[in-house]
């Protein structure tokens, strides 16, 4: 009699996973060996017994499961990466800093032309708060110079194109439609098909905020890049270039303006520099844009986002709560702040499942960032989200979890927000019977 097959071989035989020769060998052995035959029967009985145990599913659970999934998808699809409010201000500063050197060139050409025609041109204000206002006008003028919006005034010759060595105009051209995100297109297509089926279409994406003439002709993606640069810089992902650092340091002295006005003040200073000086900062900013995009892509990848994260949504929070990639979460302090904001600014949960995910996302944040200034806030939010999950779903497990989290918080000195936690715990009614 041949040697007994191993239990693993018997299992593979049972599953039909052995190749022909191995299977034939086991067949021969089983004809001769009653012990192995009995073993095989027992393995088969184990499988049958396990299959015979039905799942204990809460009544009615599957009735709303599919609509809940669809609702999450519908909510997630139009979500875009949103910068915080201060990001717009930073983006505006960067935009001014980028376009002002080009505007200066145009202004110089225009002034030269006017001088040739012996028409006096008033000198620009040289200092003080007027510079900021002047920079704003120059910014608008730059839009003209790039041919984005208005035609040049009839009294002046058309501005010459910027120097070919300057990469900014090419990089800042509105992107073709094909370069917009695939998700944008998918959502549009989905809405049309849903309408074609006669079903209620998902609401259209919110109208974009009122835009200036220059913004109106620039693509969304282009604008996002500026915002992302500003946001990433504020988060510490992108450092200032050396010339910009000098400008930023010099700006408060030159213009007497606070830090956020550094870029306009610096651009004002550049008005009097030679042309070569105008091009260098622009090129460095183009490089900076690339670095910022790379940093953003890296951060998205690190956070496990397949595409643009639905920041501020509970769905985004799940990325942290369920570790699906197994990749290391080496999240820096800047990213921790970004994560905190995405959780804190997210839409309130509408279902117990969402609240549960939010609870775990907050727990994840607090666990991973115990020294973060908002770690205590995160621990409080764990309790509040847990209490909300119970109120929405009335599942006893949620109540127990919220009670356990609340007690853990209150027992953890100094518990500075104990009153808030107690208030959340008071909302936990006894579990329904």
């Amino acid at each position: 009699m041949s040697a007994h097959p191993s239990p693993a071989q018997l299992g593979a035989y049972l599953d039909g996973e052995l190749d022909a020769s191995a299977r034939a060998a086991v067949d021969v052995h089983l004809r001769e060996c009653g012990e192995c035959g009995a073993h095989l029967s027992e393995l088969s009985a184990v499988d049958d017994a396990a299959r015979a145990v039905p799942l204990d599913v809460p009544a009615g659970y599957f009735e709303d499961f599919a609509p809940r999934v669809r609702a999450r998808l519908a909510k997630k699809a139009p979500a875009r990466w949103r910068p915080p409010a201060w990001g717009w201000a930073a983006a505006a500063a960067v935009l001014l800093a980028v376009i002002t050197p080009l505007a200066l060139q145009e202004q110089r050409l225009a002034s030269k032309s006017v001088a040739e025609r012996a028409e006096p041109v008033p000198a620009p204000a040289a200092s003080g708060g007027e510079r900021l206002e002047q920079d704003a006008k120059l910014g608008a003028k730059q839009d003209e110079g790039l041919g984005w919006t208005m035609q040049p005034p009839a009294t002046l010759p058309a501005p010459q194109a910027p120097a070919p060595s300057v990469a900014a105009p090419e990089a800042m051209k509105p992107l073709p439609e094909s370069r917009l995100g695939r998700r944008d297109q998918a959502v549009e297509v989905g809405r049309d098909e849903v309408a074609a089926l006669g079903a209620p279409a998902s609401p259209k994406r919110e109208a974009a905020p009122e835009q200036g003439p220059a913004d109106a002709v620039r693509s969304k993606e282009e604008k996002l890049n500026d915002e992302q640069i500003a946001d990433l810089r504020a988060l510490g992902y992108v450092s200032r270039s050396a010339p910009e650092e000098q400008e930023a340091q010099a700006a408060p002295k030159a213009a007497g303006a606070p830090a956020p006005a550094a870029a306009p003040a610096a651009s004002s200073q550049r008005q009097h520099g030679p042309r070569a000086q105008n091009t260098v900062p622009t090129e460095t900013r183009i490089e900076e844009r690339k670095a910022a995009q790379a940093a953003l892509a890296k951060d998205k990848d690190r956070a496990g986002y397949a595409d643009e994260p639905a920041a501020g949504t509970v769905t985004g929070a799940l990325e942290e709560s369920v570790e699906v990639t197994g990749r290391s979460r080496d999240v820096g302090q800047g990213a921790a702040w970004a994560k905190y904001r995405s959780l804190a600014d997210g839409a309130p949960p509408r279902s117990d499942g969402d609240a549960r995910l939010l609870r775990e996302a907050w727990r994840n944040f607090a666990d991973k960032n115990p020294g973060h200034p908002q770690a205590d806030e995160a621990r409080v939010r764990v309790v509040e989200a847990g209490a909300l999950a119970y109120r929405l779903g009335h599942r006893p497990q949620d109540r127990e979890t919220a009670l356990r989290d609340g007690r853990a918080y209150l027992e953890r000195p100094p518990a500075p927000q104990a009153d808030r936690v107690r208030a959340a715990l008071k909302t936990l009614e006894p579990a329904p019977r």
């Binding site: 049958d48 299959r51 145990v53 039905p54 204990d56 599919a66 549960r356 995910l357 775990e360 949620d398």
Partner: protein, 191 residues
């Protein structure tokens, strides 16, 4: 007539959420069941099942419609479930006191096996399997995935699938020996 799965998938790949919702309805029990058998907690299985469909939708443009959708979505769910039970959060959460499964009711070949004490022993044995053995056992016995498919889903090699599955079966067999072994067969008159 119900639309075919291929039609629904084609529409869903075009962005039709209602078509995808129909697919969810067809597979929700299977996906939830796979998740629940691995994570052992309803609320976690609910989260995992939802997320599995979300992930599937996000990756739908890469899905080959000539292949069956069921094994694909189950693999996604199993992966999510496995990653959950590997997390610290899962290790710290005690299993609920209530039993996950309830015994089968009504006449059947395994009634004797699953009655009373035997049923409790089986539930306990399933719950007591190491999570990664439980995942392999679930994907093979309940989802009937091949060893290769399980290996791909869990990112392990086929040999590991074979050994984990064998250990899981042997452990269950030992704990159920009184019911399915020679003594059990004698008592039940089956062998």
């Amino acid at each position: 007539m119900d639309p075919s799965e291929a039609d629904l998938l084609a529409k869903a790949q075009g962005g039709n959420l209602f078509a995808f919702e129909e697919i969810v309805k067809r597979y929700q029990r299977r996906v939830y069941g796979a998740a629940l058998r691995i994570v052992r907690r309803h609320e976690v299985a609910d989260d995992v099942a939802q997320e599995a469909f979300i992930r599937a939708h996000q990756a739908l443009h890469t899905f080959d419609r000539s292949r069956p959708f069921g094994p694909w979505i189950c693999r996604i769910a199993a992966n999510l479930a496995i990653n959950h039970i590997r997390s610290r959060q899962a290790r710290e959460e005690p299993l609920p006191e209530a039993h996950l499964e309830t015994p089968a009711r009504g006449p059947g070949a395994l009634d004797g096996l699953l009655d009373g004490e035997a049923s409790a022993v089986l539930r306990s044995a399933l719950a007591g399997l190491p999570a990664e053995q439980r995942a392999v056992f679930t994907l093979r016995v309940f989802e009937e995935l091949s060893y290769r498919e399980i290996a791909d889903a869990l990112q392990i090699n086929v040999g590991t699938v074979m050994s984990r599955l064998s250990r899981a079966r042997e452990r269950l067999r030992e704990q159920l020996a009184a019911y399915i072994g020679p003594a059990g067969r004698r008592a039940g008159g089956t062998g």
